[in-house]
Amino acid sequence: MARERPMTSAPAVQAADPPAITAGRWLWVSKHLQRQVVPRIVLALVCALYLLPFYWMVATALKTNQELVAYPPTMWPDTLAWSNFSDAVDYIPFWRYLRNTSIITVLTIVGSVVSNPLIAYGFSRIDWPGRDKIFYVVLATVFIPFPVLIVALFDIFATIPRPMWSNGGIELGGNWINTYLPLVVPMFFGNAFWIFLMRQFFMRIPFEISDAARIDGASEFRIFYQIVLPQALPAIGVISIFAGLYAWNDFLGPLIYLQDETKYTLAIGLTFFKAQREIQFSLLMAASTLVVLPVVALFLLFQRAFVEGISLGSVK
């Protein structure tokens, strides 16, 4: 660790020789410029660039058809065509797709919240031989490109039966394709990123409280559930946010597994606007705004959780 000051450093000399009084004022001005003004200008420009997509999405979403074809494009619509939003919602079965997406999102959150803390607990607060070697395998799975699995996963899900209602009872039959099962069930088996994040959090909780409970004869599951988990609620919040986002933003999964139009998610539904010969630009942007809005709202509400979650999950 390089905490100490190197012994070889030159004796402390102030950066600049004492300047003349007028020059001193200039030095102050230039320092102030360097510290406060220049970074602000750069930051503002970069932020403007990063806000550009949002601005253009909303501006396009509110343009009438006549205004949309105008060249050069108007920077902000002359007349705000709010009706684009209701038209967009009617153009595709928006509410049905919103419902479908919400079901998948909720089930994904449930699966992640049930599985990841349990797994992370086993990787952090119980001392078993071989634990850390297996944890390296968990971390390594992050780097495997998911698309190499899609052919096999599709074929596997196409052959395993699912529980189905029939004659008032439950029977096994059919397969998992065109259901939400392939999207949701794997979430109950943990995700490397979230296991890592949860584990980081668990390791910060003092181990003494577990030891005390063990002496009192509490079972490991009880220690997990009643003592450690209540202290990890912020991390569970972070995981539910990330899991919800993952499901909401997923494109490839629904594209592969969902075949029936009534089962589609918003991600697939939005492609309908482009499938026509004439792309419905303003309707597409209106629908995109509606899909993006919950994400932005969630972010504004839980900004700190996002930033801390990522810092927590980052490798040191």
Binding site: M1, V151, A152, V315
Partner: protein, 310 residues
């Protein structure tokens, strides 16, 4: 990356016999991580093995796969679209990943400025990274449109030519590389955490030695950040080789196959042409390419990654 391992006894595995407590812990520990083990075997190991097996067969997804040995792999070699998609994907990855690391580092430095309103900048720079990629892609379709987009209007004002980004094979991949930079906020936050972890004393000592801002960045910040940069490069490599959604949404492989990426070709073979065997061969080749490139980066990193020694 290094994983802290608190409270682990050294060399437990070397001892053949476990104490009663260790045996108990092993049982309980495995029970806790068992969901992951099941998922790992069922949704990762088995599918990878399954893909390998199918890749030696002719299989449409229906009926029985017919064994054809290495024919799929042989066919790959003479398949122009395979080479085109591989070239496109490597081209995209080679640009998007290093550029992404540079942009993320720039953003992280920006996010680390000592101005009071910096949380607002941080939020703005991070926000596009959590948007659905499909939605961001739709937005860019219009943002970078030559007649309807504001991006080209800005270019024209700066005296630059009006480019048909997604309609010209020369620019289409570069436009997607540009799009990818709007997701850099995610990595920037990870870099920012790294920046904050660098001991201030290092900078103070360097300033006493008269080192300028660039020197401090070059000789303290970068070396201290190399483990995180390595992590980002390898993860970025894996994600770059997977590029799919943007191209599927915006260009659908066009124009002139300039954005026909590897995974898109794989998807088409599997789910459009019903060539599951061929798609499996493609998948395995991608798997091997990813692994080899990751190993190469890792090997190369031994020469520049600076690990803190205690």
């Amino acid at each position: 990356m290094s994983v802290a391992t608190p409270r682990t006894q050294k060399g437990v595995l070397s001892r053949v016999r476990l104490t009663r407590k260790e045996r108990r812990n092993l049982g309980v520990g495995l029970l806790f991580v068992s969901p992951w083990i099941v998922g790992f075997l069922a949704f990762l190991v088995y599918p990878i093995y399954y893909t390998l097996r199918i890749s030696f067969t002719k299989y449409s997804g229906f009926g029985e796969p017919a064994w054809i040995g290495l024919d799929n792999y042989r066919a790959l070699l003479s398949d122009d679209l395979f080479w085109t998609s591989l070239y496109n994907t490597l081209y995209y990855t080679a640009l998007a990943v290093p550029l992404g690391a540079v942009v993320a580092m720039g953003l992280a430095l920006a996010m680390n400025q000592p101005v009071p309103e910096v949380p607002i900048y941080r939020a703005i720079l991070y926000l596009p990274a959590i948007l659905p990629l499909f939605a961001l892609s739709f937005i860019f379709l219009i943002l970078m449109d030559p007649t309807k987009g504001i991006f080209n209007q800005i270019l024209i004002h700066l005296g630059l030519p009006n480019v048909n980004w997604f309609g010209n094979p020369k620019w289409s991949k570069l436009a997607l590389v540009f799009l990818a930079q709007f997701g850099a906020g995610q990595v920037a936050l990870i870099f920012l955490a790294g920046l904050k972890g660098i001991p201030v004393t290092l900078y103070e000592a360097a300033m006493l030695d008269g080192a300028g801002a660039w020197n401090r960045f070059r000789n303290i910040t970068i070396p201290m950040m190399t483990p995180v940069i390595l992590y980002d490069l390898i993860l970025g490599l894996s994600l770059g080789l997977q590029v799919f959604t943007q191209a599927y949404v915006i260009t659908q492989g066009g124009p002139a196959d300039s954005t026909r990426f590897y995974v898109m070709y794989l998807y088409d073979n599997a789910f459009r042409y019903g060539k599951m065997g061929y798609a499996s061969a493609l998948a395995w080749v991608l798997f091997v390419i990813t692994f080899v490139l990751a190993m190469l980066i890792f090997r190369w990193s031994q020469r520049w990654v600076h690990y803190e020694t205690t």
